[in-house]
């Protein structure tokens, strides 16, 4: 029986924490600490959550920027770095202005957090969220909201207009990210009520980003020369560095989602290690068998696939199960990226769907399987069996996919209309976005 079941009995006490993010309560409860209206934060939990926040920031600056940037051609390097930087900065402002409120503003509906905490109204340095200062909780969540739209831009890299990317991100966060974050992590949220396992954002972050990127890749259209010209990554070194930083920062993501430095954190940590190792080895093995050579880009792709897969599952499976979960997600992602995508012919430039989407779906569903005590997991929610748990896992995945796909499609059309087309001109695309959109070049060796 998984500890999440304890929430069942939390309906009443939860009322006491009206404004507190649900997840904070969960974690506090899970680590068996006594949650009272404590006057001072726990310094150890706070230290860890500040570290988690900082290392998730590190995933953006420069983690994902390099992971993505290394994969594009030299002439588009800065455009990736620039979109990353600007979207993340914009989201930080948006989060303070209305994002936190829309997600965790105290609203009781299942889809929307309300307007109660616009401009962080009512939050003071002394406000706590569980055992940590609420400001720290906000900062932590802010980094999640910042990285998710950045993940999406990989789907239509090397051809989108800068202002289209910004505008889409803004709208997408508003109409997709914040609602899904509320559903998954707020005490009043839909998935939360269903006791869906989404430890650190399989639905909210990865499936969401993967789907939006796929829709974007299709709406924006293929790059000129796609399938004919060599679009080799300009620096696999940078891609490896970026992936490494993602690996490192992901401990903020996953272990930070324990919202404290207790035993749940320890579990999430070991699982994040082993699933990632499984992901790396999974991809390499497939490549070695099918192609005779294991590649570096394969290894880091498997790394990310493994990390994505363990994200929703980090607190509910065991370290050996995590190895398999990572390896399976990695193999599926390989198949998608190297076979399905090429067959279907769309141009998801950096395989956001293939890796984050597929990995996220695998992880969200896998969480409902590998949590089984028979597989070394921590058990199902409540008195559930695997069937029931899986039903809710799949339902949450399905709702996320549909919501995200439909809204993203509409938003791409709207943004396209507002910006005079999503794409830069063909000449600009050929010359590269760095010079034509930003007036700079990345390298002058």
């Amino acid at each position: 029986m998984n500890k999440i079941t304890k929430f069942a009995g939390l309906a009443a006490p939860a009322a006491l924490f009206a404004g507190l993010p649900a997840w904070a309560q969960e974690a506090a409860e899970t680590v068996e600490e006594i949650v009272e209206a404590a006057p001072a934060p726990d310094t150890g939990d706070t230290a860890w959550m500040m570290v988690s926040t900082v290392i998730v920031l590190f995933m953006i600056f420069p983690g994902i920027a390099l992971f993505y940037g290394g994969l594009v051609r030299t002439k588009n390097m800065l455009s990736l770095l620039m979109q990353t930087t600007t979207i993340a900065a914009m989201m930080m402002v948006v989060y303070v202005v209305y994002g936190y409120s829309f997600a965790f503003g105290g609203g009781e509906g299942p889809y929307f957090g309300g307007f109660g905490k616009l401009f962080l109204a009512g939050v003071t340095p002394d406000s706590l969220a569980g055992t940590i200062p609420e400001y720290v909780f906000i900062a932590f969540q802010m980094t999640f909201a910042s990285i998710t739209p950045v993940l999406i831009i990989g789907g239509f890299a090397e051809r989108i207009k800068f202002r289209a990317a910004l505008l889409f991100s803004l709208l997408w966060a508003t109409f997709v990210y914040f609602p899904v974050a509320h559903m998954a992590w707020d005490a009043n949220g839909l998935f939360f009520g269903w006791e869906v396992f989404d430890f650190a954002g399989g639905t909210v972050v990865h499936i969401n980003a993967g789907i939006a990127a796929l829709v974007g890749a299709i709406c924006v259209g293929k790059r000129i020369g796609y399938g004919k010209e060599n679009m080799t990554p300009h620096s696999l070194t940078l891609t490896m560095v970026g992936a490494s930083i993602l690996f490192v920062g992901w401990f903020g993501f996953n272990v930070g989602s324990a919202l404290g430095a207790g035993t749940l954190a320890g579990l999430a940590m070991i699982n994040t290690f082993t699933a990632t190792a499984g992901g790396i080895i999974g991809w390499i093995l497939v490549e070695a068998v099918l192609r005779g050579k294991a590649s570096m880009l394969g290894a880091v792709s498997g790394m990310i696939a493994g990390l994505v897969a363990i994200t929703p599952a980090a607190g509910v499976v065991g370290p050996v199960g995590a190895i398999f979960l990572g390896a399976i997600a990695s193999a599926l992602a390989y198949w998608f990226v190297a076979v399905v995508k090429i067959k279907l012919g769309y141009d998801d430039s950096l395989d956001v769907f293939g890796i984050h989407g597929i990995g996220g779906i695998t992880g969200a569903i896998g969480a409902g399987i590998f949590c089984a005590p028979a597989l070394g997991g921590q058990g199902f929610a409540g008195e559930r069996g695997m069937g029931e748990q899986l039903f809710y896992q799949v339902a949450a995945v399905g709702i996320t996919i549909v919501w995200c796909a439909v809204v993203s499609f509409i938003l791409f059309k709207v943004v396209g209309a507002l910006t005079g087309g999503l794409r830069v001109t063909a000449d600009a695309e050929r010359e590269g976005l760095d010079l034509t959109s930003h007036g700079e070049r990345a390298y002058h060796y």
């Binding site: 020369g225 010209e229 050929r430 010079l435 007036g439 700079e440 070049r441």
Partner: protein, 112 residues
């Protein structure tokens, strides 16, 4: 034999190479160069300091062919590399006195 030197737009390289292979060209040397010509460069700005960059990236092809093939090579390049826009490039033809294939020591037309 003739040495044909061409300065072209980089993204035309593959197309030109394929067209040349079709008419029997079996080798060439390709260099990435900075071209200067009528096509204007661009401006880069770094922290408010503007730099005019007068050079445009081009590829430079060098192909040695038997005299008989020279005109056809020039034509093929000219046809394939053109976009009709400024900066399409130039082709120059020079005379080559001798050619040697290192591996075999063959000389003249046999070497190329």
């Amino acid at each position: 034999m003739k040495l044909i030197i061409a300065a072209l737009k980089p993204f035309k390289l593959d197309e030109v190479r394929e067209a040349l292979t079709t008419i029997g060209v079996r080798g060439m040397m390709v260099t990435e160069i900075k071209g200067f010509g009528l096509q204007s460069g661009h401006t880069e700005i770094y922290r408010g300091a503007e730099y005019a960059v007068n050079f445009v990236p081009k590829v430079r092809l060098e192909i040695v062919v038997p005299d008989a093939l020279a005109d056809q090579v020039v034509d093929t390049i000219a046809r394939t590399a053109g976009t009709g826009k400024i900066g399409d490039g130039k082709i120059f033809v020079l005379d080559v006195e001798q050619a040697v294939r290192v591996r075999t020591g063959e000389t003249g037309d046999d070497a190329i």
